[in-house]
Amino acid sequence: MNGVLQALLTAVPALLAGVEVTVAAAALGIVLAMCLAIPAGLGRISRSGIIRSVSTFYVEVVRGTPLLLQLYIWFYGVNILLGILFHFNIDQTIYNMLTVFNSNTIFPKQGISSFFFGVIGLSVNYGAYLAEVIRAGVLAVDKGQGEAAATLGMSRWQTMRLIVLPQALRIMVPPLTNNFITLVQDTAFLQVLGVADLSLVALTGAQVTSSASIRWGFFGAELVIYFIICYSIALIARRFETNNSLGIAPRRSIMGGALSLARRPRAG
């Protein structure tokens, strides 16, 4: 027991660094995935056949193949292909960019290409899943709403922005947060590319010893940290869900709708 505590205490800085990498990957992944998902999700219900088939192709292909294979394709396929075709080296590029700002000392020694392509792969993968959520949310809004807006003389874009999306956003909150939770969990996949995230740090910490108790100390700590991160997101999401049914004050924009979701509704 003492040995386990000692081993864990010596590993705390490394584990915290791992948590940082995990949280950074998850945050970047969520933002990039949403950036991909909104056009793809709206594209799937677009009128134009080309846009619709392109986004359907993206969604179906990405949802039909495993994340691990996609990460391999990004890192061992696309990464090398870019290097061969365009002499594009992401490490070199970012190092040069940092040099311009006189701060290349912060460049990590082990390079950043695995993190970069890992996050890209993760967000492309989740972009497809979130696109389905967005599509379902938009389709779940009552048709009469759009028709009423059209009767009032609103343009398509106005209807989307002012009428449909604010209502769809409330429907989308539970599935979106579910997907965010699985995204946080799936950042553990980045360890196959050598990104020193929480799972890889704990795994290396566990595998240098042959003592079962120290191994379980590391795995237990890792599982508990992941559980805390994911379960807190789930709890926050559950609060949103209960608020969701209470109704929100009408706002002028999507941003306003999102903000009012974050606020507690007034009683009455």
């Binding site: 677009s46 179906e60 949802r63 039909g64 061992y76 048709k143 449909v164």
Partner: protein
Amino acid sequence: MAQVDPASAPATMQRIPPQLRSLGIVVALIVIFGGLGSLLLGALDVTAEAQREGLQVIQQTNLFNPAQLFPHVAHFIGETIGVLTIYTDKFGTPYRIFFLQGVGLTIAFCFISMPLALVMGLILALMSRSPFRWLRIPARAFVEFFRNTPLLVQMVAIYSGLIFLPNWLLFAYTAGIATLVLNYAAYECENIRAGIEALDRGQTEAAQVLGLSYWQTLRQIVIPQAIPVLLPPVINDLIYMYKDSSILSLITITELTAQTNALTRLYPTRTWQFFAIGGAIYLLLSIPFGRLARVVENRLKSTTFRPGVDVTTTALIILFTSVVLGWFCGLLVDGLSVGNAVGDLSHLFFAIVLCVLLIASMTLLLGAITYIPAEAWRVLRRGRTHRPGGGVRGTGSPAPAEAPIAAPQ
């Protein structure tokens, strides 16, 4: 109107039959990968040659030059077909054998793990609906824990953390199945619970009035009505498991992703052919299942489900058949022989033993961690209920009236 008119959106889609659409996706995948892969192929050939000669050659391929692109794409498609049919690795084994073995193992793992996960999920769901707190809280703890931690980490923890277990009980095969079963049991528990809760409560009450016991109610009333509700999410989860089984490549199981990746590393000049074929195999198996889920959902929605057979027995037979199919797939990969058959059967047996052991111990452990504080908290709270107006949830005393909501100004 982009969003308000879903009926007009699939109008052009209706004309193309769905089978053709999946085929189109696969063809487009191959062509797109062909574009990328052919470029890589040409470039890699030149660079490899240059390295052999000790030269530095800068390969410039023009993406927008059809004269360069089309021959490359044609070459790539030819190579892909070759890899699928007759090309061999340097030891003379055709590449297609590796892919077939990979698919076989992937299917074997899914078909074995899903029925086990369903059975365990049913037990967990019944536990989490039971009136006893000492059954309910451990089940909830198990489900929440396994749904909120990464599958990959669970797998690594089971495979390389439980080193005190003997190696005839814990090896890659059993650890892989145990991981998939434990994780998916948590998800299936949620599905089954939702399916049971969707039932009208009058059904179970009527069964009680008729004097049916708990098991009779479950077997003859609840499960037959819950299965139609349950079927679409379970098929969806089967697709998810089919994709998630790719992580088993990290514990030395040579399923499809592992084979693809290994071939890619060994024969880098055909990287993109291997990636394209691996991805296409995953797509070819998961898109039809997705369609099946949608068809089942629509059919169950449109008609009343009036089966002429004993649904529970049929479901059990299907689950058993699935396990047998999985075992047979694994056997085909290992090679058809009596020794392999018995060996695989014993592996399967030990995998089930490990699953049961792990689920029992994890439920006990997590249940103890959560149940004891919860009980202590309840006892502490109960001590305070004697205060005037101190009604507390769960103790049977009525809750105090909430403060009246302020009238809107």
